[in-house]
């Protein structure tokens, strides 16, 4: 049993490959990429990828799957379906479930669920501290052994700098990175959107840029102190981009991600108290968006990640202060990233790199490449075809997106995981 993908523009940054060719997948591995491959067997599936791009399956290192505990928002099953529909073949999930993934048994549960119900690869992230409370280290070693690829207290940043330092030191021998949602809670002070003119007009409590920047500054310093690789989540401000750029220049082991919403939208989206524009970090100003785009272009921002954060309609359909932070992203990320290519900010190759090989390297998973012999995770998409974003069609359980009704380019036609077509759109 094999899959033959014919005539696509094969782009694989891991091999500096960009040419129209055929890809042959045998079993769960990539067998061959060459100009012309004739179907070796009758039972093979043939996909005509003419006019489309064939790339390594996309890798999202910032996803909230909500299971266990919040299955009304998303399950591992629906999260994987949404991923596949968006072209993602590997997703790395944050530990803030209920119970929190702060010990090996929760990690094992997630992996078991993913194996039995998920159609894409799921790689869990373990918590840094027990119950993400920020007061004692979680069993990082055991979680690492059970399959966690990184540690993070996403959403509940470790406030105690001493404890954060210990976590970074402790985790170093295990060879997995620390992923930080950097935020100074004292500066955020219960804020619900970006602090600025818009928050002032709307009478909403603001989260200043300084809140994120103080957090990032601290964690970069701790990264340089401990030598542990640090990955910085969802960079949203101009100052953060500058801090990461300078740290990299000094040789710090720092990587950073930006989300499609942070490089696309500004805090003006909140006007009318739109709870689908409420996320943390919040949408910032035009100046910040421009700085993030610049960071994406010059490589300061290594990765595009979604921070896919599903919430039910009832939870979002409330007073702005009461609505939870976060939006779904798996089914819109590719199209929004393609906008950067369309605008000439990055090349298609660079975009794919930030969605495949680099995120794979950061969390140390053997994915994001089509090198012969590697696991056959692929995406086939038409970068020029337009579609209207209709949340009603999402495979995610939730519809909380600010992009409803947007006309965007980029349609995923096939998603292949370990040699199996797990999603196809005719």
């Amino acid at each position: 049993m094999g899959v033959l993908i014919k005539n696509g523009r094969v782009i694989d940054p891991s091999q500096s490959l960009d040419m129209v060719s055929d890809v042959y997948v045998q079993g769960d591995k990539v067998k061959e990429i060459s100009k012309r491959i004739d179907t070796p067997r009758k039972s093979d599936t043939v996909i005509d990828a003419s006019g489309q791009v064939v790339a390594p399956g996309l890798v999202d290192i910032h996803v909230h799957l909500r299971e266990p505990g919040y299955e009304h928002k998303e399950t591992i099953k629906t999260g994987c379906l949404a991923a596949a529909a968006g072209g993602f073949t590997s997703i790395v999930c944050m530990p803030n479930t209920n119970p929190i993934n702060d010990n090996a048994s929760v990690t094992e549960y997630i992996l078991l669920k993913a194996r039995t119900e998920g159609i894409v690869n799921v790689f869990p992230i373990g918590a840094i501290t027990k119950r993400e409370k920020g007061d004692e280290l979680a069993e990082i070693g055991e979680m690492c052994e059970a399959g966690c690829v990184a540690i993070s207290d996403d959403g509940m940043p470790v406030a105690d700098s001493g404890l954060m330092r210990k976590a970074m030191e402790y985790v170093r021998p295990f060879g997995i990175p620390v992923i930080t949602h950097a935020e100074d809670i004292g500066l955020s002070a219960g804020g619900v959107m970006n602090e600025g003119f818009v928050s002032t007009e709307l009478g909403l409590r603001g989260i200043p840029s300084a809140s994120e920047e103080v957090g990032i500054g601290r964690d970069i310093i701790l990264c340089e102190l401990t030598g542990t690789p640090l990955h910085i989540c969802h960079v949203s401000t101009k100052g953060s981009v500058r801090l990461v750029r300078e740290a990299k220049k000094r040789g710090a082991k720092v990587t950073a991600e930006a989300t499609p919403h942070h490089f696309t939208l500004t805090d003006k989206e909140v006007y009318g108290y739109n709870t689908n524009a409420k996320m943390n970090p919040p949408l910032r100003t035009r100046e910040d968006v421009d700085a993030i785009i610049e960071g994406i272009a010059d490589g300061t921002i290594d990765v595009i990640a979604t921070d896919h954060a599903p919430h039910s309609q009832d939870e979002k359909n409330v007073e702005f202060d009461l609505a939870p932070f976060g939006i779904v992203g798996l089914e819109t990320a590719l199209s929004l990233s393609l906008e950067l290519v369309e605008k000439g900010i990055i090349t298609l190759d660079e975009m794919i790199k930030k969605l495949t090989v680099i995120p794979s390297e950061i969390v140390g998973i053997e994915r994001g490449t089509l090198a012969p012999g590697s696991i056959a995770d692929l995406v086939v998409f038409d970068p020029g075809m337009s579609r209207m974003i209709n949340p009603g069609e999402f495979l995610s359980k939730s519809r909380n997106t600010p992009f409803a009704g947007w006309e965007l380019k980029g349609v995923v036609s096939n998603t292949i995981v370990s040699g199996k077509v797990v999603f196809s759109r005719s």
Binding site: G196, E201, G203, L204, Y273, V318, E319, F320
Partner: protein, 308 residues
Amino acid sequence: MAFDKKHILGLGELSAEEIKVILDTAESMKEISTRDVKKVPTLKGKTVVNLFFEPSTRTRSSFEIAEKRLSADVLNFSASQSSVVKGESLVDTARNFEAMGASIMVIRHGMSGAPFVLARQINASVINAGDGSHEHPSQALIDIFTIREKKGKIEGLNVLIVGDILNSRVARSNIFGLRKLGANVRIVGPATIVPEYFSEMGAEIFHSLEHAIENVDVVIMLRVQSERKTLEYFPSLREYSGLYGLTREKLKLAKKDVIVMHPGPINRGVELTSEIADDPGAVILEQVANGIAVRMAMIYLVALGESL
């Protein structure tokens, strides 16, 4: 011009013309209040609900009197006796009243934007009676109405707002409304509660009351909320009132015919000395009386918009 807004959510959303229509309508309503029978049949058969998720006897009573003078059937809902405790959502609560036939909802809520959530999801007209630190349109319209009555105009006046601008819905509504009608708006208070962002809304920022008050026609004193929330922005009420409390001395720096307003209730000795609160230049009680007329105008105009 006609007023065709279905809701009154804030002065930020109204044009100068629409604000003037409300003020003019309030003038006719004030005339009704001078009659022996202070009642007109305009809203007969209509039901108005006062949805108060935050306690405010003054604002609610004022709206209730206004509604009754227009002959509306009035329902009062306050959060203490409510299903909010049971976890019923804002929208569900409002829909229940809609099912009972309410066509206008007056909402007071502790969170900014709550009236906007309602307006998007129910068919009734929504009047914002104060939302979080966002807007308090009826209070600002009362202030503006009172200023216009006293000064004969708004355009070109220097109006100073003193106090906790950051957390004040009265301040935001006044800034929007006064700027739209052509007044020069100054704001003054500690730097922690008078942030620079307000200059983008067209207000001139001061941190010294002595400087700010020079040559002003109107002073609007905001109430200092003596809750912790405000006190984290400055060290003590004593220090605050020393710097920003209005005394006769400081008032001398304003124009001779300056008027002093306060949305009430006053903390005597904190925002104002008693001698000023009781001074003929202080129009605090007139504000209360004008409140009913302005609120009648707001209800009347949305009811009109709805029936068109």
